[in-house]
Point group: D2
Chain length 333, copies 4
């Protein structure tokens, strides 16, 4: 059992705690949160100890690995601390909102072999993984076009938005990584973005958007669309469509149960989709943890890696630059 | 162009008139209805002449073939008249409500080679036909179980019901024929029926039912369910499920257009199904007419035949007998 | 944490062990199996102790409740032992293959308030439960017809079949219980059955069947179909269709992930269904355990109860009698 | 009956001839094609006369209206001729490949009240129309994002491509018009295009593309994606997705019949989609003709109009300009 510590006991931290404890491979030993009562509450529910500081977590000899689910601005610091302490880390995305901080972090940890896995959970969704595997197998031919739909159930509050770094760095970054995961070696080289505050026009005042269509061209010319909206009345909408020379694959949404209704107002109607990522991607979070444990215990490469985290951010940067210029923007490498 | 006459200008007769005139292979020349204005109205819309009597239709030298869409009690008489006149006939189902009249008719026309086709239109539905063809091809293995769902959108009025001979002779008869069509040579040999007036309990007073489940066993032991209801709030429900050793085939319902709605009250909801047989089975009626023209012009065997009409009625008789005895009833042959 | 013991460490027992240990409400303390190594293996994986005898389980003061997953012939004995020991029991279905043994057991435990829950897991499937709740709410009107499809992925081996008591007692019994669950207070009063060995005709030699259609009529006249097959090439097929005066509800199958394939050989094709009950009904087994814990800890009535187990068996008996007589058979009460 | 003439007797001309003759409102009287045998063949099948020249068609006093289905380079000439002759015209798209010719034509016909309808058939598809009506009703809230998928079953031959004016003028132009139809008064003002020869890289030699993603922004900021491919192994793929504040609407593909297959290789698989526009949009072509007859007989405004034809072409021009510059391009008005 991997003795696992958790830094950050908010909503997503609590979910990690639960998953760590439900697994037969991991065990939650130590938790920390800047807000003491949050840490105490998770500790009580899970039988873990509380660390007063993040440093205490990294110093603790009884900790094999650390999950970082604290606010974004702390991620790079904690990654550096984990590397110094020699403790494998599974860190929530993004590494940082400022790409300069990410690059500095990269310099600081250069040459390390301490495993660093970034929390792009969608790579571990069974449906998305199956699309990736089918594409990689070649059975469906050569990939031509990729369309990723990602629509949140409801907009976050203004407080969240103010710290999130913009929709494209906060939300689309998952889709950038998912696109890269599905594309394999053929990286996006050019990004064009269209984004507006259409759902809530007041967002313009904080220079924020809530709907986006982003097109990327890969090195081999493939076309990728990312379609985002911050509000979806029918539930969290997470779909992939991969058009290939031999056919098309879709990874579709899932309903909480298999009920279909047939009435005078419609036929074969499913339930609204699972509400949000904690429900929709539960299996993905479990598989993500398993991959992390494999990395720690069996030495499989950490994936998605720190470099993946950086590359997703570079795509977000290119998208923001395109928004300003109206031009397709080359991705920095 | 086959010079075609029509006897019976009610709802289904008018539909036949339209289909005959829209076809490049047929032309409506003569119409008759006991209710003069109905005949006149169809004649005017289609450019056909009006015959004062049914006899005049069969005597007319300018008529190549006759479609009979008059009330059931006239069907056997008109089939006999058509045979005497040597005119091919496409006659709506059923041949008669009384099996003795059907048998007498069979005697009367014994030895004829005048084509007689019974209007079991569902055999010509593209989906149902495709199921039959797949089963016949053997690609899906040996058929084990067959489930036919047939639910009308809304119950007919009491007037209709009083003349209809009971739901099983009037409505289920289509499903008996469809089952036989799908089963090929393996005929149902035993019938068990369960039927009640569940939607409108007042029907019990006229000894009528509105919901039925009828199970048949074939000579080779296959199992067939027919599931009927006289009311379906989500539209006319017409489905086939064929379970075989290699997989399952369904012929599913069709919506008027391909709209899917995703809202807080449901996802991927289609429109209610097409309202009733004239809409749902329009293609089937067109293919049915083509098969009739092929029979007349090319000498292909009339199908479904008079014998098919008789056999469907024998299944209905067995079902009614089972309702009385509570026992599985052998089908007469 | 409910200190839970397990008797029977075969396939389904191992699944119970896993679910008990994954729950934050239960803890596996003691296991027993007549085959020692099976018990040892489960004990090792779960940290439980091994009991040499079943008696030792019931005598153990450190056991709060017992799950019985041993062979059917032991169920009634263990239920009686649990009652004598005052330990709540969750017992796999059926109570016994011989209804006389079930009735003797009922006499033996008469008057007890020790909770006895029978393992009809399907009642706890989220989709099936949602159908039940919608029906109970009345939103979809009055239920008219119920169709339950239950097809196993592949036939069991001959050894299993010889001890299983016949398909209708072994497999259909789940559907009998599910029907009763969905029907609420309106119990089936009459059963008619059609069953043959169609998939593997050799089964006739052991007087066994592999395909069945069973129709039941309820006290209020509702119609129920149960449709079974022992082989389904496309995966475990578990569906409900509830036709009501206001519309239709279906509880449909689930695929392992949301992939849809579109190729020249077909469009919108999902993956084959989850293989069998352990995968398909995993959530149901978890909810079943929670209901059991609620009964033990909060005193909610045990459900499905011993009486439910008896009633399902009476429906199976009526079905077998109908098979012999060809007649609809009254259900004993 | 509207006495209708047809200029152009190729594949799409023959389809128009059939539809004109199947309608009870129209009658084909006169046909012309530069290739005499094509005209003769349509004339024979439909009972129409043959005109030796296009001029003879416009001069014929026995012609009420003209359908133009000849090669694109003749469209503007024939529109001008129709206006001079005072004969209503239904002209296939596009008006011309060269926008200067379209503008000259506009000048030439300025002030006319002779009805000119452009053959953007997709506006008349029942599913697409239903989406438009639902959006217009406001029941689904405010439209935010529109995604149009349009993939041909197989690439056309090189000969066709050389005369087609480029995929975006030839194929995407339908989608530009469809987008405008669905958007109502909120016109696209900015276009950004990504297009490559991905399916057949040899197309680069003739400066042609076969895959495209085109994003448009409307005056009110709405986002529109058009997704094209010249090859779709699973059949002609024609879909709309409209994301709105109250939910999402899709207009989905249709299969030739309602068969679903369930086997070890997939579940609920439909047939491949209808092959191409003549099959997929048959109903649309019929409704299109009815709209044209309404315009001629009842004076309803011609729609889609000459201006609609021009505006779709302006969007194509903007897309081509964007391809060259990599920038979002303002649409000329």
């Amino acid at each position: 059992m991997l003795k696992t510590a958790l830094i950050g006991c908010g909503r997503i931290g609590r979910m990690h705690a639960e998953i760590v404890n439900a697994s037969s491979r991991t065990h939650l030993t130590l938790v920390h949160d800047v807000h003491g009562p949050s840490a105490a509450s998770v500790a009580e529910a899970s039988g873990a100890r509380v660390a007063e500081t993040a440093e205490a977590v990294f110093d603790d000899p009884d900790v094999d690995a650390v999950i970082v689910a604290s606010v974004t601005s702390t991620h790079a610091d904690y990654i550096e601390a984990a590397v110094r302490a020699g403790k494998p880390v599974l860190c929530e995305k993004p590494i940082d909102l400022d790409i300069r901080r990410v690059l500095a972090c990269r310099d600081a940890i250069a040459g390390t072999d301490v495993p660093i896995q970034i929390g792009f959970n969608r790579r571990f969704d069974p449906g998305h993984t199956a699309v990736r595997d089918e594409l990689a197998s070649g059975d469906i031919g050569r990939l031509l076009q990729l369309l990723i739909t990602s629509r949140d159930p409801a907009p976050p509050g203004d407080d969240y938005l103010r710290g999130a770094g913009g929709m494209i760095r906060d939300m689309t970054i998952h889709d950038f990584d998912l696109a890269r995961y599905l594309l394999g070696d053929d990286e996006p080289v050019e990004v064009w973005a269209c984004a507006q505050a259409l759902i809530d026009p007041d967002l313009k005042q904080m220079d924020e958007v809530d709907c986006a269509m982003i097109v990327m061209r890969t090195g081999e010319g493939r076309q990728v669309l990312i379609n985002n909206a911050r509000q979806s009345p029918y539930g969290y909408d997470q779909r992939i469509e991969a058009m290939a020379t031999g056919g098309m694959l879709q990874s579709t949404n899932r309903t909480p149960h298999g009920i279909a209704r047939f009435t005078a107002s419609g036929t074969d109607a499913g339930a609204p989709y699972l509400d949000f990522f904690i429900e929709r991607y539960r299996e993905a979070f479990v598989h993500q943890l398993n991959a992390f444990v494999d990395t720690v215990e069996k030495g499989t490469p950490a994936s998605p890696s720190f470099e993946d985290g950086l590359k997703a951010l570079r795509l977000a940067e290119a998208a923001y630059q395109s928004l300003e210029t109206g031009k397709a923007t080359r991705v920095e490498t």
